[in-house]
Amino acid sequence: MQFLSDAECEYIRNGAKDGIRSDGRAMLDIRPVTLETTVLPTASGSARVRIGKVTDILVGIKPEVAEPSQDFPDEGIISFTVECSSLASPDFVGRGGADLSAELGQLLTRLYTSPVTRELRRSLSIIKGKKCWILHIDALVLDSGGNLFGALSLAVRAALRVVILPRVIVIPGEADDDDEIEVDEEEFKMLERSRDAPIAVTLASQGDRGIYMADCTSEEESCATASITMGVSPLGKSCGAVSAGTGGIDLDTLSSMLKDAAQLGLEILDATDRFLKTDIDNRMSGAPIVPIGFFS
């Protein structure tokens, strides 16, 4: 966590009261996002998201055939590993990085175990109770300049939108239990239901009633008194929310924050879906994809 002097905090707070932020944005404006999918040739689906010039997240998906969990026999499994690279920031070295990684992983797990993604998980089932796809989603935080939750959820969603899974053929056995599967390495399908995947929106309050901002820079984050992060599904439902910070938020502000978060989430979902259309089309057509590279 970057730490600021009281004077800088005050500057940011007073600016927020006037509705202007240090980089000229209005309260709910989001910095330009740079998004690229299929950046990793070895992953089945991948995406890299950068927000502003700093926040930089890379996500790769690796599918595997496994057994479904006992509690949800007809669903596949989406498992997350988030790693905050200690190269990115000295804060990520040791405990700080581990804690943040855990926090980010928890949020993703919360988003992707919620009922809004049930159909997505069901589409990963192969044989009920016996075989399913498990998607190992590895996220790497390469650099942090605020709004990690938003960037991470966006990257995961984008990677899911373009992930391809090999076709699986079920060979019926003599008894019910003896079904076998064969993975066809030639033919691939995309995950249609990944359109259900949610996005996380974080709004941070600076302590003043009714004033809060979206997509905070790390400076703004370190002087925020409280923030809420809400998962927004494409239907505008909340699918997991957590708060952070010790300031507390009064009810009216909170209520309006939730409304704005939901609206902002829908806008982001809409914009990303429009943006990703060409990526998805390319992927479907099987056109070769040349990653642009890391230094762009």
Partner: protein
């Protein structure tokens, strides 16, 4: 060992409960009714302050140690450390960390969540160079375990004589279909579409901690938060009674000894 674990046996599937459209709940409560609550403070001898909360099947001990010298770096303000644990047999699968050492992910998350809630009211600036340790232990979780931890921890802090600008209580609301269910039991929690948990500072009327799981409509979400706050305010009322009762006892005892 190659053993296959089947999970605790005490869990009974709640299938069918969802379809039952009744005016009252399984335990006969109204939808907006809390379970009977029992609270006590100051029953642990080694701690500076302690609180016990029991509501429905949920039973929680919470202890506050300190202010004590901080082992870490010099800090102008005091620091607070929270440690929330579930007993192995608390009935909450996966919540309890493995024996002995490390905390489970959930315990870790909840500990930092509790720290946030409490730190919003504790006047840490009055405890330079010191740390305050708050440790909670859930003996049994019959639903709403974490919300109750917040309540128990607040009681313990107040009992410890730690300066606070407010009293916090937690409460949970489950969304089952269209219905908002206040203070859900473990069974209701299991069948809910989504749950909303709020830590609430009653005097400042501020939400200090918010957590939502599952899937909830925006409107339901906002409504649920309001309902949570109302429920928390109710709990806060009871907490105050409990604290004042204890205070009277203390002062009476002191009055005698000073005479």
């Amino acid at each position: 060992m190659g053993a296959i674990t089947y999970g605790p046996l005490v869990r009974i599937d709640g299938e069918g409960a969802k379809t039952k459209e009744r005016d009252v709940r399984e335990d006969g409560r109204r939808w907006d009714e809390l379970r009977p609550i029992y609270m006590r403070v100051g029953m642990l001898s080694t701690a500076t302050g302690s609180g016990y909360f029991e509501g429905g099947g949920t039973k929680i001990f919470c202890a506050v140690h300190g202010p004590r010298p901080s082992a870490s770096n010099y800090t102008i303000d005091g620091t607070m450390h929270c440690d929330v644990r579930w007993a192995q047999f608390s009935g909450r699968e996966g919540a309890a960390g493995r024996q002995g050492d490390s905390m489970s992910e959930e315990e870790r998350e909840l500990s930092s969540s509790l720290q946030r809630t409490l730190a919003s009211a504790v006047r840490l600036e009055n405890y330079p160079k010191c740390r305050i340790d708050v440790s909670a232990f859930v003996l049994e979780d019959g639903g709403g375990g974490f919300a109750a931890v917040t309540t128990a921890a607040s009681l313990a802090l107040a009992d410890a004589g730690v300066e606070m600008t407010d009293i916090m209580a937690g409460s949970t609301v489950a969304v089952i279909g269209k219905q908002l269910v206040v203070d859900p039991s473990a069974r209701e929690e299991a069948i809910a579409d989504g749950t909303v948990r709020v830590g609430f500072a009653s005097q400042r009327a501020k939400v200090t901690d918010l957590m939502q799981n599952g899937e909830v409509d925006l409107e339901q979400f906002r409504e649920a938060i309001k309902v949570c706050c109302t429920a928390s305010a109710q709990v806060c009322g009871l907490m105050k009674e409990c604290l004042v009762k204890k205070a009277k006892k203390w002062l009476k005892k002191r009055g005698r000894s000073e005479m």
